[in-house]
Amino acid sequence: MTAEQKGIIDNLRKAIFEYNVDLAQESAKEAVEKGIDPIEALNAMTVAIKEIGDAFGKGELWLPDLVGASDAMQGATPVLEDEMKRRGVHRESLGVVVAGTVFGDIHSIGKTMVTTLLTAAGYRVEDLGVNVKAEVFIEAIKKHGADMLAMSALMTTTMTEQEKVIDALKKEGIRERVKVMIGGAAVTDEFAEEIGADGYDPTAPGAVELARKLLEKQ
């Protein structure tokens, strides 16, 4: 790597640490221009994200820092992914996650936090939004070859929809293909076990750790 290229990589990292979406995008463009391997560029940012995650774990940084860093990464990712496509290379994502808030429920901030952090951590996330019916989840799982389904339900009246989706996965014969992670303020470990989900975590950063654990086993 030339000194100039190293400087660009440093800028990409800087963009993460300074939560600077514009710098991330500019540096990604420069990286492409200067012939830097897009996978290497993405990996450099992923390492920076992980450092921020470690600082969060130590209590030095907070959720806005995690999300700010993730957003900055999103400034660079589309540019680098386009370059990967152009080169015909493929970056191993840690996994494909289909995410959404279940049918009857329109709360999104929790899901948004989780999908943002999952993306930054290196997962490919297909966010289906809110009020998502079971058949829509199933279609997306098939279409994107998902490894994980992440469902959110804030209310007790909609919590049980998560069980319906899992039952639908079974009926469709694809339950074994995906790990199912659920979330929402009223959800509990017992409920997750009862309905046959693979895991549950009450916090957004915790959800990323859980995803790592569940998908590593595969």
């Binding site: 907070w62 959720l63 329109i106 007790t156 009246t157 009223a186 009450p202 916090t203 957004a204």
Partner: protein, 501 residues
């Protein structure tokens, strides 16, 4: 229902200029950014009344004149009708009423772990709330979101039925899966009014289900409670001032909606917002910022001449302990002193996830204390007592045997019913009871002796049961109620003692 009257000016945390700045910023957001309404019917209504509507993005932008006109149209004081007219209230101005605050589940008072309550526990808890002297309102989801053996889709109607049966105090109902249709019918069957919320989905969004329910409630002539449940730093700006702007824009949009559907609709504005816990992502219940937000909110909305509903006393502690005590007391005290017209306190434990009737008994004392505080003090010749002071003089003089003392101590003091007031030695002798132990005894006593006044008539009870049956069939037909859920539900309905009213 007596409630309390605040006999002094409320606590003001903002200057007049600051209120103007916030109001101006709110109007600007309503005008420039607008609010998203996912309902064709609502969009048409707004457009017809002078708003700028973008039908592609469902964005409604509000002209300032319309906003201020609708704020004027909404009444600043209004009467609300309970099942028992003695429990009617007047909301607005300088009155305050306390209301119970719900949680999803009950709590084991030894392990502090939550669990779903039974139907009997539900009904008994409503009885306790009916029996507590300072609970004026038993709102939606109270005491809990639902109870065992009933399908979630029936939680709201079953909960409302329990409240209409076991309390004659004013109650409320929420909406979900269109259940407000049945709620309205039940309320009308027993001659009660309802208050229902119109909850924005922050930032700046109202979903179809919410809007549909709001249409129904307003058309039925009931009270609407527009609310922003924004979380500052998440679904609203991280600043208290900024979250007030964003949240108030949402609430004003709801208020304008109500006035356009039915001019003169009774509206009470709710502050149900919290800061974001920046470690867990959950709302930071019990935080001091809630009180700053609340105090400013009350001040702003009273400047609009609209009654306020706030002081949502959720602690972050999972136990009935010191932390829960100070978290609830601060929110309650500031809510009361800054002039909220209704205040949520009795019964709530952690977040929105737990409630216990024993907690409600303890909280009822806080309500009584704050109500006493708001009544203020008398300053006149008799209370200034200069003559009595002269008569008693210095030591060895004292006031214990004075007629003045016999008259005034009772008027000044508020004696709580569930607190430890013993001396140390009495306390040791009587088993070291703390407020939880005392409240448990009181809770049991209320359960065993209190009767709702008046009980439902036989025909009212029949109507309720008929409407519930219709709701059950309706959800079964829509397949929102599975066969397994139905079976379990049926068993519960057939249990001896049903419905436990």
């Amino acid at each position: 229902m007596k409630g309390f009257v605040r006999n002094m000016k409320p606590l003001d945390v903002l200057t007049g200029e600051q209120i103007e700045q916030i109001h101006s910023a709110t109007l600007h957001v309503l005008r420039k950014t607008g609010v998203r309404f996912d309902s064709k019917r609502a969009l048409q209504l707004f457009e017809k009344n002078g708003c700028m509507v973008d039908h592609d993005t469902n964005r409604v932008r509000f002209p300032e004149g319309l906003v201020e006109e609708c704020l004027r149209r909404a009444p600043s004081r209004f009467h609300v009708r309970a099942r028992n007219p003695n429990n009617d209230m007047v909301w607005g101005g300088n009155t305050i009423y306390f209301q119970a605050l719900s949680g999803t589940r009950t709590v084991d008072l030894d392990t502090w772990e939550p669990r779903t309550p039974t139907r009997k526990e539900y009904y008994d808890a409503v009885t306790v709330l009916d029996g507590l002297g300072h609970v004026a309102i038993v709102p939606w989801y109270t005491p809990w979101f639902g109870f065992k053996h009933i399908p979630p889709v029936m939680a709201m109607p079953e909960g409302l039925a329990a409240r209409l049966r076991n309390t004659s105090k004013f109650t409320c109902a929420g909406y979900s899966m269109g259940c407000e249709v049945f709620n309205i019918q039940m309320a009308q069957a027993v001659g009660a009014e309802l208050r229902t919320m119109m909850a924005a989905s922050p930032p700046l969004t109202f979903y179809e289900e919410t809007i549909d329910a709001a249409f129904r409630i307003v058309e039925a002539g009931f009270v609407l409670l527009p609310t922003s449940g924004c979380v500052y730093g998440g679904t609203a700006p991280a600043t208290i001032a900024g979250s007030l702007v964003s949240g108030n824009a949402e609430i004003i949009a709801g208020l304008v909606f109500a006035q356009l559907v039915r001019p003169g609709t009774r509206v009470i504005a709710q502050d149900f917002s919290f800061p974001q816990n920046m470690r867990t992502g959950a709302p930071a219940f019990g935080s001091i910022e809630i009180s700053l937000h609340q105090a400013a909110f009350n001040q702003i909305w009273h400047s609009y001449g609209i009654p306020t509903d706030g002081g949502v006393c959720y602690p972050n502690s999972k136990k009935i302990d010191y932390q829960a005590g100070y978290e609830k007391a601060i929110i309650a005290a500031i809510g009361a002193l800054s002039g909220t017209n209704t205040l949520w306190i009795q019964g709530a434990m952690y977040g929105e996830l737990a409630f216990h009737p024993v907690q409600a008994v303890i909280d009822d004392d806080i309500a009584g204390m704050l109500g006493r505080f708001l009544e203020g003090i008398h300053v006149n010749d008799e209370t200034l007592a200069v003559k009595v002071i002269d008569e008693v003089g210095p030591i060895p003089g004292h006031y214990l045997n004075q007629p003045h003392t016999r008259k005034w101590w009772k008027q000044e003091q508020f004696i709580p019913s569930a607190s430890d007031r013993l001396t140390h030695s009495e306390w040791l002798k009587q088993g070291k009871k703390d407020c939880i132990e005392i409240a448990k005894e009181r809770c049991e006593a209320i359960c065993n002796t209190h009767k709702v006044d008046p009980p439902l008539t036989e025909s009212q009870e029949q109507d309720l049961e008929r409407i519930l049956k219709e709701a059950r069939e309706h959800y079964r037909k829509k397949e929102l109620l599975s066969a397994i859920e139905w079976e379990e539900y049926q068993k519960d309905l057939a249990s001896p003692g049903y419905p436990y009213s």
